[in-house]
């Protein structure tokens, strides 16, 4: 896999089928419906339990707006990922082009996915810091790899967009 910055886009080239599949799973990974822990993390409380009224209002008025924002970011990512469905040969490496204008949506969706997966599997801080963990033996191990792989992409996007002169 090779990642580089083109003028108005980020390109991930030579993306092998396994990593392409992990990317295709981003929109699915951000949906925390089956995981109360993930839902709780993505929509965390804005104050301590003493602030009952504020927390209740937050759930009614703010959480739906946040949900809409997150879904909007995920939809942009989903559309970009359509490129990965166009491969003529099923097991060939492919290229994904992320327009720079979509960088924030990608950062948001990748973060949603990382947080939701980490909350679902209840990863410890030690596990999250263990970048030399052996290859997968379980769905949980794969989840940890996803969190790290998505984090790697986030780092790259952050580095490339912060290097953009018109972004301060």
């Amino acid at each position: 896999m090779e990642i580089c910055r083109q003028s108005e886009a980020l390109e991930i080239r030579e993306l092998d089928p396994f990593l392409a599949e992990l990317l295709r799973q981003i929109p699915e990974s951000v949906n925390p419906k089956d995981s109360p822990a993930a839902e709780e993390r993505l929509f965390s409380a804005p104050a301590s339990a003493e602030e009952q009224e504020f927390r209740a209002e937050w759930k009614v008025y703010v959480v739906p707006e946040l949900r809409r924002l997150f879904q909007s970011a995920t939809e942009i990512v989903r559309q970009d990922l359509e490129q990965l469905h166009c491969t003529k040969k099923p097991f060939a490496n492919c290229t994904l082009r992320i327009p720079l204008a979509h960088a924030d949506a990608w950062l948001n969706a990748l973060n949603q996915a990382r947080l939701a997966i980490a909350a679902s599997y209840n990863f410890t801080e030690n596990e999250l810091c263990d970048h030399f963990r052996s290859p997968f033996g379980s769905r949980r191990d794969l989840g940890l790899f996803q969190v790290n792989f998505y984090g790697f992409l986030q780092e790259f996007i952050l580095r490339e967009t912060s290097a953009c002169p018109d972004e301060g």
């Binding site: 409380a45 104050a47 504020f54 720079l100 204008a101 947080l115 986030q154």
Partner: protein
């Protein structure tokens, strides 16, 4: 605060982020915010607190602090490291309504943030 007003403020806060997205994440100059925040701080002491989260990347958290509060990189990094080492950092203090808006923006970036009464 009425529910309708809170809904409007939520929408406005998220629109602010939308504008930042369109503007390619340009960091606002902190001068105006500093003036406004100085006035707010006198009126009512509420803290915006960000809590440690082992998943969010340090570089991402720094970028969010720069965008939401208009802090320069050095100050944003200092807060990020305080969160990392101490488990929490007070990012801003001032009027409650402004603090709530900041928390909304931080939640929109998926950070663990709360408001709390200043001691």
């Amino acid at each position: 605060m009425s529910g309708r007003r809170r809904a409007d403020e939520a929408e406005n806060a998220l629109q602010e982020i939308g504008v930042a997205v369109i503007a390619q994440g340009a960091v606002e100059t902190p001068t105006e915010k500093k003036e406004a925040s100085a006035k707010d701080e006198i009126q009512a002491p509420w803290n915006v607190v960000v809590h440690n989260d082992p998943v969010n990347l340090m570089t991402y958290v720094t970028m969010v602090f720069q965008r939401v509060f208009g802090y320069p990189r050095e100050r944003a990094e200092r807060h990020m490291l305080e969160v990392h080492h101490n488990g929490r950092s007070i990012l801003w203090s001032g009027m409650r309504e402004r603090a709530e808006l900041y928390v909304q923006q931080l939640h929109a970036h998926l950070l663990l943030a709360t408001i709390e009464k200043a001691a």
